[in-house]
Structures are given as C-alpha cells and as structure tokens.
C-alpha cells in the first residue's frame, strides 16, 4: 500500500512533518517503538544523504508497505553529474542503478556505463554485465557492513576534506539499519528506496 507523498522543500518544518509522518506510519505498520525510531532515522539520513551527497534538498517522500517490508521512497528531479551519479549508486546495496525499464532507463544505463571507471580495454566481465543490461562500478564497491566513517580517517584528513569524510556518517547509519537500499536514476528522475523489514 502506498501512503500519501509529502513534499520536501529543504525547510526544517516540512522535514519534521515528514519524519513525524514516517514514524507514525511505521507504528501503524506494526513496528515496535525501537524499529519505528529506526525507520524515522533512516528517513532522516536519506534526506540528509540526498542533500550532502548530491546537493538535492527538495523532492517527495512517501512510504510503501509490502507484506514484511516498510519502504521509504525519496524522489527528486535533478541533473546529476557523473560523479554524483556514482556517489549515489554507491549507496545502494547492489551498487547498481536499477532504473532499467523503458527508454529512459536504457539511456540512463548507457550514461552510467560511459561514466564508469570500468570502460577500459576488453573486460569480459563488464561486457557480460552489459549484455544483461546492467553495469557494475567495480572501482567504487565498498565492503558491506563496515562503517564507512572512522575517527582515524577523519584525523588524517586535511580540514578541507573533513566535510567529505563526515558525509559518510549518514551512509554508515543507512547501511547498518536498512535491509535494502535501492537507487534508481532515469535521466533527471532520481529515486532512493530504503527498506526496513519486519523481523
């Protein structure tokens, strides 16, 4: 079941209203108080990640309930550069852009392929993946389950890079508490889906 979408405009007021709605939705879905708090946290970190990773502060957020899955959808329109596309795709669990339906998805796949670091030589793995209409960003895969942020990393970084490192706090939280993270980019339409499942 799809719940009503709430508009985000970058203001604290609308974000608070959206987060309150997500938390109430999580309780109605059947999550206990603790898991409802984590659902709220995931929504907050998703909004923060959109802002810090790709500079997008406005869009729509809604919830879809599917049997055991509570899905938080965050959608926006933005013209992303290749680095921003990669950064966002890196957040997904499968490290892929899942927008593969329709002509926009096909064009988007091609853009991802051209932008990827893997377009070198005749890599049979990449060509196999392309033949199945998928692209792998081999150079950006990070080990799953590992906190992407560390104080050690932070201390080593010069001041101008520290903000970059701090972005990873959001990623660490999303990666830890979400059961699945899906990124879909079809030209300017960007969607981040974060799933939390009933245990």
């Amino acid at each position: 079941m799809k719940r009503d979408a709430l508009k985000l405009d970058g203001s604290i007021t609308t974000e608070e209203r959206a987060l309150d709605g997500i938390e109430q939705g999580a309780i109605s879905f059947g999550f206990d108080e603790k898991d409802a708090a984590f659902a709220r946290l995931l929504a907050e970190e998703a909004i923060a990640a959109f802002s810090s990773l790709i500079g997008v502060k406005s869009g729509f957020i809604w919830v879809e309930e599917k049997e055991k899955d509570f899905e938080i959808h965050l959608e926006a329109n933005a013209d992303l550069g290749s680095d921003e596309r990669k950064t966002l795709i890196e957040l997904s669990k499968n490290k892929k852009n899942t927008a593969r339906k329709g002509i926009l998805g096909k064009i988007s796949s091609f853009i991802d392929y051209i932008a990827s670091d893997s377009v070198v030589g005749e890599n049979p793995f990449i060509f196999y993946e392309m033949s199945n209409d998928m692209v792998i960003y081999s150079s950006v895969i990070t080990p799953s389950g590992k906190a992407a942020w560390s104080m050690k990393d932070d201390e080593k970084k010069p001041a101008d890079e520290k903000e970059e490192v701090l972005k990873d706090i959001e990623k660490s939280i999303i990666e830890k508490f979400a059961d699945d993270i899906i990124v879909s980019i079809a030209l300017k339409k960007i969607e981040l889906i974060i799933k939390k499942s009933k245990k």
């Binding site: 974000e15 909004i47 923060a48 906190a147 942020w149 959001e170 660490s172 939280i173 508490f177």
Partner: protein, 100 residues
C-alpha cells in the same frame, strides 16, 4: 528537545530530553558554545531521557569531543538507551567517546 544544564565546579552536565536530530542539533550547538566559553571544563552528557540521535547530533558531539581533546579534559556520555547505543556502534562513535 529540552536541555538542562548543571554546573558543579568545572564539571558541566547537560541533560538532554527528546530527540537530538537535524531539527534540534543547533540548540545543543548553541548551549555548547556557552559551555566552551568557560575555563577548562569536564563535560557529561546525560542521555537517560534522550530517545534518539541522528548524524546531525553525532556531528555536534564529535565537535565537542575535539574541543575537549584540545583542552585535555574529559567528556562522557551516560544513560544512553539501546537505540542511541546502536547508532553509536554503527558509526564507530563508541570507539572514540566514553559511553557508559
């Protein structure tokens, strides 16, 4: 979020109630500015009434920890609930902060 401040000598205790998130983290930042205007202080965060913390709140705590490290004093967090402890674990903050 409500913040109650208690000062005993050079030990400042901040008791937080509610949520420390995008919406409220600036409140704590302002309170800490006042705290750090004082002489060398030891800082205790009492989280026994804190329901939740997000990355915005963690950033404020990280900034406080760095100031405390520079002053060569101490900072500790007491009374955190399971949700808050799990968030600290997920981000590696348990390794850099005194959480009891």
């Amino acid at each position: 979020m409500e913040i109650k401040k208690n000062v005993e000598g050079n030990i400042v205790t901040l008791q937080l109630k509610g949520r420390l998130d995008t919406i409220t983290s600036s409140q704590l930042e302002e309170e800490l500015e006042d705290v750090f205007n004082e002489e060398k202080v030891e800082l205790i965060f009492d989280f026994s009434a804190l329901d939740y913390i997000s990355s915005s709140g963690l950033r404020v705590l990280l900034s406080a920890q760095k100031k405390i490290n520079a002053m060569e004093t101490k900072m500790k967090i007491i009374g955190a609930n399971e949700v808050v402890k799990e968030i600290f674990d997920a981000t590696g903050f348990t390794k850099i902060m005194d959480l009891s």
